[in-house]
Symmetry: C2
């Protein structure tokens, strides 16, 4: 008996293309790239994205409306995500920093909020663009 497949066909197709990409992909660019594989409509892409995000396989870079594969061991199913974004060339890197992760995951204030998750985006210039 074969191992239960975790990802569906569409989910795997979308994940593959995001993992292969060197930069964050936008939903409609993903759509364009998977049309040869039979995915024809935006919803098929968005549904796959939603599931992949839930599984922590990918993240959405909110300020860019784009999606990247998870490369970080500290984000534990997308509860603690941090990105570095070059405002010139748009290079995006997931930040893998245990100190920040701990610091922010333990954040509390006196407002009565219970925090489960955060997303942090740093903006600046990369080496090349400086």
């Amino acid at each position: 008996m074969t191992q239960t497949q975790i990802l569906s066909k569409n989910q795997q197709i979308v994940l593959d293309i995001i993992e292969k990409a060197k930069e964050p992909l936008k939903a409609y660019s993903i759509l364009f790239n998977v049309q040869k594989k039979g995915i024809k409509a935006p919803l098929q892409v968005y549904r796959a994205l939603e599931k992949l995000i839930k599984l922590g396989k990918i993240h959405k870079v909110e300020s860019r409306n784009a999606f990247v594969a998870c490369k970080n061991s500290y984000c534990r199913i997308s509860k603690a995500t941090a990105f570095s974004i070059c405002e010139s060339c748009e290079k995006v890197t997931e930040i893998n920093n245990s100190k920040i992760s701990k610091y922010l995951s333990n954040f509390e204030d006196n407002t009565g909020m219970t925090y489960k998750k955060y997303n942090l985006e740093f903006f600046g210039l990369c080496k090349k663009c400086r």
Copy 2:
């Protein structure tokens, strides 16, 4: 002689409505609300928003595509923004915390990136929704 006006007419109208609001406003909801004041097209709103963001009068809550007035002394012209977001009632509060601000503003890594700005969004449940 009157003091040089900092904000244009449209900018002031848009700022007023955002400042009066108790929750983040979406661009098209702003548009709807200012139509009685003569602003008719999305672009007029988006241009005002862009300028107000540059001036640090308002911020965009990226994960919600919505806009709030700045209430924070540590974000210095929108270079260091942090928000607390209730995932149930969608209440959004700008976080005013010098420690976080200092900690993140001084963040460096060994990737060669020069950081100028960050945006942090915490997600959870507020007192009422818990």
